[in-house]
């Protein structure tokens, strides 16, 4: 038995690999040539090999509600998501444009606030921002960059347009899975990698290291870089440890660090204190420094903000960078790009209605059964209303929430996000997916080649978050012009 493409039933969504005529798109041809040559039993055997490898390598993520069972194997689909190099290059340019503008925006907000004075960005949005940190006013970090690592979620609608769904500027995760997925695929399908031109992804840890090292306040060849993790019970702990390992950085917890009277940050080592130059923090602002933010935080380091303000340590992302990671701020990004760069956005935003404006709110309330409503500051797919799938009482509850706090909500049309063939019980079935590339900025800009493709493994589901039943695929950027 072979994997038959003619049995593949596309739904109304755009399919990343198969065109409307049921034929593989150009970038996916080599893949399907290959799949056409192996039979289903062979594929199943390889799928089992992947599962075994995932178990053995201990690629896991943590689910908060699982109680004692703290990690789960990472659900992985072995049919890759494929994109042509030409399309990817346009997207890459768009991602870099976006992060450049966002960093100019954040720096402006904490300093002159020109964009507010010029009435491009409303003061009331700034005032209502939960992630604006008073403690960061008047600071300009190195290179004027606040968000050094950005995970941008992209989706493709029915007509093939790629949109930015959100910008994750706080502590975006997932890049380790992108790297591990590629390792798994190379173990499994070495033949395809030989036969076609799939661009490599594995320079990310080096790029990340260089991005971080550039933030070192000391002029030294080998700055001490530390990844600050909340610890083993955090859902992304695997990734923290993985990145530290790949970068040759120290993996530290808050209790390993101490800020001394000289405003420098030190690690506690077996031979005494050792200075830390750059901290890649994977904990939220709120928990970063109990002296500056939440006093009950046991995860952070007392005095860390003091050290950062004194310029004695680099922190990525900078405290306060999350101000631009807000679904209401998101709606202004096209204007932000225009304002700072005098350019049109290369990748468009999903059209959005802001509930803070009376007319837009009325539209949202009148069309709750068609729209997706999102709170401004949640991530991981929490606290959302998917109108067409919600019950009447859920919609009523949301209408009340919106009226109570309009600034906190925005709405978008329900997109029919694209699909790709996914292996389900030995045959291919369409499953919805998104793409999270990671963009780095300090002394220079860098984007991952492709990114992490997250796929909703349940039939018909549009939710790709790993915490809610999502899995992932390897992402191939394929050079077809040779």
């Amino acid at each position: 038995m072979r994997i038959e493409l003619r049995d593949y039933e596309r739904n109304e969504a755009y399919d990343e690999l198969i065109d409307a005529a049921g034929q593989p798109r150009p970038a996916a041809r080599a893949l399907f040539d290959y799949l056409g040559r192996i039979d289903a039993a062979e594929l199943e055997a390889r799928r089992q090999a992947v599962d075994a490898a995932i178990m053995a390598m201990g690629i896991t993520f943590t689910v908060y509600s699982d109680g004692a069972n703290i990690d789960r194997a990472w659900p992985f689909d072995l049919i890759p998501r494929v994109m042509s190099r030409r399309e990817w290059e346009r997207i890459e340019a768009g991602l870099k444009q976006r992060l450049t503008a966002l960093n100019l925006f954040i720096d402006d907000l904490y300093n002159a606030q020109r964009i507010v004075k010029d009435r491009v960005f409303p003061l009331e949005v700034l005032e209502g921002s939960r992630n604006f940190r008073e403690q960061c006013r008047g600071i300009t970090p190195r290179f004027g960059v606040w968000a050094h690592i950005c995970g941008t979620d992209l989706v493709r609608d029915r007509d093939g347009t790629v949109y930015v769904l959100e910008d994750n500027l706080r502590v975006p995760s997932g890049v380790s899975y992108m790297l591990e997925n590629r390792q798994l695929m190379k173990r499994l399908f070495p033949e395809v990698f030989e036969a076609s031109s799939i661009l490599p992804v594995d320079d990310y840890p080096i790029q990340l290291h260089d991005t971080l090292a550039a933030l070192s306040p000391r002029d030294t060849d080998r700055p001490v870089v530390a990844v600050l993790t909340p610890g083993i019970f955090n859902s992304a702990y695997f990734e923290h440890s993985y990145l530290a390992q790949q970068m040759g950085a120290f993996l530290v917890e808050g209790s390993d660090l101490v800020v001394q009277d000289d405003d420098c940050v030190y690690m506690k080592t077996i031979s005494g204190l050792r200075r830390v130059d750059v901290i890649y923090r994977r904990i939220d602002d709120d928990f970063l420094d109990p002296e500056a933010f939440r006093p009950d935080s046991a995860l952070g380091v007392p005095g860390l903000m003091r050290a950062w303000r004194a310029g004695r340590v680099g922190i990525a992302n900078a405290p306060g960078a999350g101000v631009a990671d807000d679904k209401v701020v998101y709606a202004f990004v096209p204007k932000i790009i225009k304002y700072y760069l005098d350019q049109d956005p290369i990748i468009p935003n999903v059209p959005s209605w802001l509930c803070m404006y009376d007319d837009q709110r009325d539209h949202v309330l009148a069309h709750l059964d068609e729209l997706v409503v999102k709170p401004a500051n949640e991530s991981g797919g929490y606290g959302m209303l998917i109108g067409p799938r919600a019950t009447a009482s859920e919609r009523d509850k949301f209408a009340a929430l919106i009226r109570e706090n309009p600034r906190n909500y925005m709405a978008q049309p329900t997109l029919t996000i694209s699909t790709a063939p996914t292996l389900v019980n030995n045959h291919l079935a369409p499953r919805h997916l998104d793409l999270r590339p990671f963009v780095l900025q300090s002394s220079r800009l860098h984007a991952t080649t492709g990114g992490l493709t997250r796929v909703a493994l349940r039939e018909g589901s549009l939710v790709v978050n790993s915490s809610q039943g999502g899995g992932s695929k390897d992402t191939w950027i394929v050079d077809t012009e040779e």
Binding site: I232, Y242, Q245, A249, S255, D256, K268, I270, A298
Partner: protein
């Protein structure tokens, strides 16, 4: 090296050593029982006692039979020294320092963890199944030690692994030696002479020491000579003397090690100077207790010097210790 990482490495090694030695303790005891003469008696609860777990055991159980005691020692997660718990803690600890170990280490320890998770229940099916599963654990654990010896730089991180392994190993050797004190042989000395010899042979076999004993001590297995070999032989890797030597070698490359070396020498001097004049169980037991106490002092000194060095510095509010690095000693 971060103090926290050094501590985790140390405990990871101790937990793995403890898991292996508990498996050895159970297997050797089971073998010994097969050879007991008519009229001899044995209480399984001695395993709980020598492991220092009797108080905890009695919190959860009243029965002192083989079945309950084996479950408690092998698969009861309420027992932090159960084989399942030790391997679980070792794996959790090693998640916190994957970056300092060879890449395959994680795959192997993860595989060991999955193996015991899947097979722990089998150990209750019968002594044969139990022997096989425990033997597999010993085997896999040895392959992990081999991996570290052969592919990890013998750097500071390695020293902490070796320290943990040797302190735990010395401690467990004294505990395994202590088990025979629980066997009561019949008074008839014609029967008890050879039986006693077989008992001590069992102890040596459990520690993979029989062949080396024969080679370096002699063919006759006498309690006093076995104890002397397992405690004072300078070359056998599971003897307390050898472990103390290894501990001192590790310490000598660590920074500011003077007080730790002092503690280690103190233990060594006591080991050397005490003459075992009689092998009465009570005397041996007290002697072993003293060695365990000396090892405890070495542990405390290392903990103070390297793990909790900075405790006088301001700490984040509400800081708690990692639950997976709790101490038994």
């Amino acid at each position: 090296m971060l103090s926290r990482v050094a501590e985790s490495l140390y405990w990871m090694a101790r937990y793995l050593e403890r898991a292996e030695n508990t498996a050895r303790l159970i297997n050797s005891t089971t073998q010994v029982l097969l050879d007991l003469p008519r009229g001899a008696s044995f209480g399984w609860d001695v395993l709980i006692k020598v492991a220092g777990l009797d108080a905890l055991y009695h919190q959860h159980h009243t029965e002192l039979d083989e079945h309950h005691i084996m479950r408690f020692l092998i698969q009861d997660e309420r027992n932090p020294s159960a084989i399942v718990s030790c391997i679980g803690y070792a794996r959790e600890n090693s998640r916190t320092f994957r970056e300092v170990l060879p890449m395959e280490f994680w795959e192997r320890i993860n595989a060991l963890h999955l193996y015991i998770q899947r097979n722990a229940a089998k150990t209750t099916l019968g002594r044969t199944e139990r022997y096989q599963v425990l033997n597999e654990i010993i085997l896999r654990r040895q392959s992990i030690v081999g991996l570290l010896m052969g592919s990890m730089s013998h750097d500071i991180a390695y020293q902490f692994i070796k320290l943990g392994r040797n302190i735990e190993r010395a401690d467990m050797t004294t505990r395994i030696l202590d088990v025979n004190s629980a066997v009561l042989l019949p008074r008839d000395s014609a029967a008890s002479g050879p039986a006693l010899e077989r008992l001590w042979m069992g102890t040596l076999t459990g520690l993979s020491a029989y062949q080396m004993y024969r080679r370096h001590v002699g063919v006759h297995v006498r309690g006093r000579e076995v104890a002397d070999f397992l405690l004072r032989d300078p070359h056998f890797p599971r003897s307390v003397n050898h472990c103390l030597g290894e501990i001192e070698t590790c310490l000598s490359v660590l920074p500011r090690q003077a007080t730790c070396i002092q503690a280690s020498r103190q233990a060594w001097r006591r080991l050397e100077s005490t003459q075992l004049k009689e092998m009465a169980p009570v005397v041996l037991h007290e002697y072993l207790d003293q060695i365990q106490a000396d090892l405890g002092v070495i542990h405390d000194t290392i903990a103070r010097q390297y793990f909790h060095l900075h405790q006088n510095l301001p700490q984040p509010a509400g800081q708690t210790t990692n639950p997976s690095t709790q101490s038994q000693s």
